[in-house]
Symmetry: C2
Subunit: 205 residues, 2 copies
C-alpha cells in the first residue's frame, strides 16, 4: 500500500529519506521551521544541498510526507466498509482508520502536530494535500451510494466536512498531549452533524 519499496535502489532511497527527515525534524523542533535553511539541513545530515533537495521537493514536504498515504487509507477504508449505508458513519469509520494509521508513536505525532500548528507554511501545505485527497474520497463514497449523480454536491460537502473534522480532532488531541481518546473525540466532532443543530450541552466527558 504505502509505496512498498522493491529493489535495492528503492530500499536505499526510502531509508535515506527517512534518515534525512529524522535529522531535519530535530532541527525544526529545536530552531523553528522558518529559521532553518536547506543549507543547515544538508550540513547537519552530511549531504550536499543538491542531494537533500532531490529527496524532498519542498521544505514543507520534509515534515509532511508522512501524511501522503492518508488519502488512500481513507479511500480504501471506505471501500472495505460497504456494509454501513450511512454516509456519516462510513466517513467516521474511515477517519478512524486514518488516525490508526497516523498514531504509531504518540509522542512523535504530538510533536509533529505541534510543529505544524505553529508554522503557517506547514498548515497551508497540509490543507493543500487534504484538498488533493478529496476527489478520490468522494468517488469512493459515491461508488456504493446511489447511482452516480453526476456532480453530487452533497458528497463533496460531506467529505470536506469529514476531513475538517479530522484536523480539528487531531488539534484537540495534540493540545491534550495525546491523552484524550481519539475515538471519543471523533464522535464528539461528528455529533455536529447529528444533533438538533441548536444548542446542546455537548455529549459525554
Amino acid at each position: 500500500m504505502s509505496a512498498t519499496p522493491v529493489g535495492t535502489r528503492e530500499i536505499s532511497r526510502h531509508a535515506v529519506r527517512a534518515e534525512l527527515a529524522r535529522v531535519a525534524f530535530n532541527r525544526f523542533c529545536l530552531t523553528g521551521f522558518d529559521q532553518v535553511t536547506f543549507a543547515d539541513l544538508s550540513e547537519a545530515a552530511g549531504v550536499s544541498r543538491s542531494t537533500f533537495l532531490r529527496y524532498f521537493g519542498t521544505k514543507e514536504d520534509v515534515v509532511l510526507f508522512v501524511f501522503d498515504p492518508v488519502g488512500d487509507v481513507i479511500a480504501d477504508a471506505l471501500d472495505a466498509d460497504r456494509a454501513n449505508q450511512d454516509d456519516w458513519s462510513r466517513l467516521r469509520n474511515a477517519l478512524e482508520s486514518a488516525v490508526t494509521f497516523l498514531v504509531r508513536d504518540v509522542q512523535e505525532l504530538v510533536t509533529i502536530l505541534g510543529l505544524i500548528e505553529q508554522t503557517p507554511a506547514l498548515c497551508a501545505r497540509l490543507r493543500e494535500k487534504q484538498a488533493e485527497w478529496r476527489p478520490g474520497i468522494v468517488a469512493r463514497l459515491q461508488k456504493t451510494t446511489s447511482s452516480t449523480d453526476g456532480s453530487s454536491v452533497i458528497a463533496h460537502v460531506r467529505v470536506a466536512a469529514a476531513l475538517e473534522c479530522l484536523w480539528i480532532v487531531l488539534g484537540q488531541w495534540s493540545a491534550s498531549g495525546g491523552d484524550e481518546d481519539l475515538g471519543e473525540l471523533l464522535d464528539a466532532a461528528f455529533a455536529a452533524f447529528s444533533t438538533p443543530a441548536c444548542q446542546q450541552t455537548h455529549a459525554p466527558s
Copy 2:
C-alpha cells in the same frame, strides 16, 4: 466596515492599490499566474518593483486581497441574525451575505475564481485566509448559543463545514459561468447536513 478610507493618504493608497491590482490581474489572466514576475508587474504598472511589493506583501495577495473582508462579513451577519436559533440556518444565511458581498460584477468574479482554481498557490493561500476567519466566526456563533462551552468542538466543526460549503458552491457556480442561482446552490450544499445521510436523489435541479 471594510476599511473605510479616511484622509487623503488613505484614499490615495486605496486607489493605487486597486489600480495596481487591475493591471496585474490582466497580466495574470493573459500569461498565467506563475509565469508573471514582480518585475513584469511593476513594469506594466509603471512603478518600481519595491513600490509594488509595498502594496502587496505577496504575489497571491495581489489577487486575493478582495476576499479579506469576507470573514468579517460572515461574522457580522451572524450577529445581525440572532432571531434564528438553528446553527445551520444562521450559517447558511451568513454565507448568503458573503456571496452577496462578493458578487458585484458576475463576470469579474467568475474570472477570478477561474484563475484561482487553476493556480495551486492561490488555492492554498485562500484556504489559509479561510482558516484565519474561523476563530472569529466560531466566537460569534457561540455567543448567542448555549452558555460558552469552553472549547465546543461542535461549533468549530460546523463553521469549518459551512466555509467548505462556500468554496464548493462558488466552484460550482463559476463552473456554470455564473448562471446558476447561488441561493439554490447553497441550499443544495447545506442539504448535506439535513438529509437522512444515506442516498438521496438530491433536491431541486
